[in-house]
């Protein structure tokens, strides 16, 4: 197709202009873009808080901000990043955009509910931003009681309300995905012909539907406690603060799998395409997603090891926490086996995938460290835990998100991003990330507590390294923001299938038409069947 023709063909982006056509859209692709803009804003907000934290930690004295302010910084960093960036990220952007296409559907089962989901995220985010601007909240993103319910003088209710509302955004997205995958698959698209990205989002949706309501009702109780002093989490009135922790973590542990499962789905897609091989052990990878979703609900007590949770319960949770690592390991082994004897190309998405595999493995293995009850007693609430979860969330999920964004950018926008700048950014991010967070493992092991801004002098060197890394990481994240924007205007026009990938989304024009398929396809190929794919001349080395 020649340039002029590509530029003027009708697609979901140019079918209707004006604010109303976007704000009242029912098109899952447009909603995905709306989400992308929203979560990027929250990533920025969370990033600003992170920067302030890292700058403060350059020196052992707490001289940039007061302790009260520091409490607010790490709280709001966590809230912005977890609830308003990571939880929606991949499912609401890449999932929303591609899940229907991948199964041969014209849209999700409930497009209007999809739009409502976005509005709920925006409204919830609005409450959270209001709370941040009005003075902030200082309870930690975990809202432990009775501090959050009785003693904190900050904007707990507004923040809790924001999270509550955005929780329903997550629930509705999960509901939509579940019904869509069950009921909207094209003829011939059996469960085991679906791309693994769909399996990953499906498993994620199950978690969203089963877990999020619990944190929602927990926040309702926190609200009631704060306003009516009912005593439900207050020991003075007979309540149990540890009950809060049970209810909170019942969701918040599976929440981390909401954050990482879609990322793993992205990696499966990328590894396959850039090795030009089907994923090794497709069934194992598909089932491992479901296993992570299920087992992930059985381990929440490992966040309560140093509470008054009974020793017996702690033992059970510790034991089960080892199990949840197994399906993750299965995935890593299968990705590696896919690479073996594959025809590997090092396009930017693949670089992010390699980064993911390495960094997620480190993060996951350190998860086993903290799953051990005895070891966790020593490192809990230290930087060891902080490093662990940043390795999986940032080294894992964010790298996968960036990889997926680069991989699907040509399809979403009809433009190629500049490959050399992208590779450079990936390298900068990788270096910056490790420099930021590896020292934190050591810091934690040496005893540096988390959520402290004053620390002994001997920790300073490692903190300085970490902050230096953070500044490199920040630069690495800024580059894509610029070149992605640049590519919208000046990027090379993208063909339908620049990577020579399988999958129904690559069969249609870039950007896709409004209704995805003129005729619902009848699927006869297995997933990742490269025998019939011809790459359309985009050299990426």
């Amino acid at each position: 197709m020649n340039t002029a023709a590509i530029e003027t063909q009708e697609n979901y982006l140019n079918a209707g202009y004006g604010l109303k056509s976007w704000l009242l859209t029912k098109d899952h692709k447009r909603i995905a873009i709306l989400y992308l803009i929203t979560i990027t804003i929250f990533f920025f907000i969370g990033g600003i808080f992170a920067s302030l934290i890292r700058i403060e930690l350059l020196t052992p004295q707490g001289n940039l901000v007061s302790s009260e302010t520091y409490n607010k910084l790490f709280t709001m960093h966590g809230i912005a990043m977890i609830f308003f960036f990571l939880i929606p990220s991949i499912p609401a952007t890449l999932g929303n955009f591609f899940l229907p296409m991948m199964i041969g559907a014209r849209d999700l089962a409930f497009p209007r509910i999809n739009l409502l989901s976005w509005y709920l995220l925006v409204i919830g985010g609005g409450f959270a931003i209001f709370a941040m601007l009005a003075g902030g909240v200082d309870t930690g993103w975990t809202f432990y009681t009775p501090y959050s319910t009785t003693y904190s003088n900050t904007w707990v209710i507004a923040t809790a309300l924001g999270i509550f509302v955005s929780g329903f955004s997550s629930i509705l997205t999960g509901l939509n995905f579940i019904v869509t995958v069950h009921r909207m698959r094209a003829p011939g698209m059996t469960w085991f012909r679906m791309p693994l990205f769909v399996w990953a989002n499906y498993a994620t949706a199950v978690i969203q539907v089963l877990g999020t309501p619990v944190v929602a009702v927990t926040l309702v109780l926190v609200f009631c406690e704060r306003v009516f002093h009912i005593g439900i989490f207050d020991p003075n009135l007979g309540g149990d603060p540890v009950l809060f922790q049970h209810m909170f973590w019942f969701y918040s542990h599976p929440a981390v799998y909401i954050m990482v499962l879609p990322a793993m789905g992205v990696i499966s897609e990328i590894i396959s395409v850039f090795s030009r091989k089907p994923i090794f052990g497709y069934h194992f990878v598909a089932f491992s997603s479901m296993a992570i979703a299920v087992i992930g609900f059985l381990v929440w007590g490992h966040h309560l090891f140093v509470s008054t949770q009974s020793v017996y319960a702690g033992l059970v949770f510790s034991f089960l926490s080892y199990f949840v690592a197994i399906p993750s390991a299965v995935k890593v082994f299968n990705w590696t086996a896919t690479l073996y004897k594959g025809s590997i190309s090092f396009a930017t998405p693949m670089l992010y995938a390699f980064g993911f595999i390495g960094l997620f493995t480190i993060g996951g293995l350190t998860g086993l460290f903290v799953a051990s009850l005895g070891f966790d007693v020593h490192v809990t609430d230290t930087y060891f835990v902080v490093a662990h979860f940043h390795y999986v969330m940032v080294g894992g999920t964010i790298m996968a998100f960036l990889g997926g964004l680069h991989y699907w950018w040509p399809k979403m926008t009809g433009r190629m991003y500049p490959e050399n700048w992208a590779k450079l950014s990936a390298a900068i991010i990788f270096v910056g990330f490790n420099l930021t967070f590896f020292p934190q493992f050591i810091l934690g092991y040496m005893g540096m507590p988390r959520r402290y801004h004053v620390y002994p002098d001997e920790f300073q060197v490692l903190h300085v390294l970490s902050t230096a890394g953070a500044s490199i990481l920040a630069i690495g994240y800024l580059f894509p923001m610029f070149y992605f924007m640049w590519s919208l205007r000046y990027g090379e026009l993208a063909p339908a299938n620049p990577w020579g990938a399988t999958g129904l989304e690559w069969k249609m024009q870039s950007p896709p038409p409004v209704h995805n398929f003129d005729e619902i396809p009848v699927v006869t190929h297995e997933a990742y069947d490269y025998s019939t794919i011809v790459r359309e001349g985009v050299e990426v080395g």
Partner: protein, 223 residues
């Protein structure tokens, strides 16, 4: 895309993401069931708190429970069960394309739901008068420690309150259904909204089926 042309009123609107009416109906129904799963977990959190605290303070919980009027509670339970009956009859009427029966059963269901809410309002007022509402004015005679007694009533109000909120939403949904039923929107081929509203209504009834014994009938034999 197929817009079935039934003159003059629109009966079945096949949404463009679906290929057949069957697919749309199955999706809507399954979607409502998935939503009910989330509701189970939502109420479930409160049931968990209840379980933990009843286990911790069995005697105080029993005393507090006895201060509720079991007869009124039982009668109100019966009212709600009757409304479930009328609701399923409404669904049945819709399945058979009987518009007038559908309308009458919807009205009955709505009426019974409102009766339930009215009785609830009366009960809550009783609790207010007796100073059993958690907060500054709370006082429960007979309990040495006020905290656990207040916990019972906090859970009572939270659980029945959340349930009542769902009833109010349900009443709104029934009104909407009534509005459209009167305009002839539902036929034997297209009654999915009635069907899934029925699922919601019955679910709210099931919640009450558990709330009643757990809140009203703790160790009644002790008094």
């Amino acid at each position: 895309m197929a817009e079935q042309a039934h003159a003059p009123t629109e009966t079945l609107a096949l949404r463009e993401q679906f290929n057949t009416a069957e697919q749309q109906k199955e999706s809507s129904t399954f979607g409502m069931w998935v939503f009910l799963i989330t509701e189970v977990m939502f109420f479930g959190g409160l049931f968990l708190a209840y379980t933990v605290y009843r286990n911790t303070y069995p005697v105080v919980f029993a005393m507090a429970s006895t201060s509720l009027n079991a007869v009124i509670g039982a009668l109100n339970t019966a009212v709600l069960l009757c409304s479930s009956f009328t609701m399923v009859m409404a669904v049945r009427a819709a399945q058979l394309g009987r518009r007038r029966a559908l309308i009458w059963f919807l009205i009955l269901t709505l009426f019974l739901g409102l009766v339930f809410l009215g009785v609830k309002a009366y009960e809550w007022n009783q609790k207010f008068v007796e100073h059993h509402v958690p907060g500054a004015t709370f006082h429960f005679e007979g309990a040495a420690e006020q905290g656990p007694a207040q916990l019972f009533f906090s859970l009572y109000f939270a659980m029945t309150g959340l349930h009542a909120l769902h009833m109010v939403v349900g009443a709104g949904i029934l009104s909407w259904l009534l509005f459209h039923a009167v305009r002839g929107r539902f036929t034997a081929e297209y009654m999915t909204p009635v069907d899934i509203a029925g699922l919601y209504w019955h679910f709210v009834d099931i919640i009450w089926i558990f709330l009643f014994p757990l809140l009203y009938l703790i160790d009644r034999h002790m008094r």
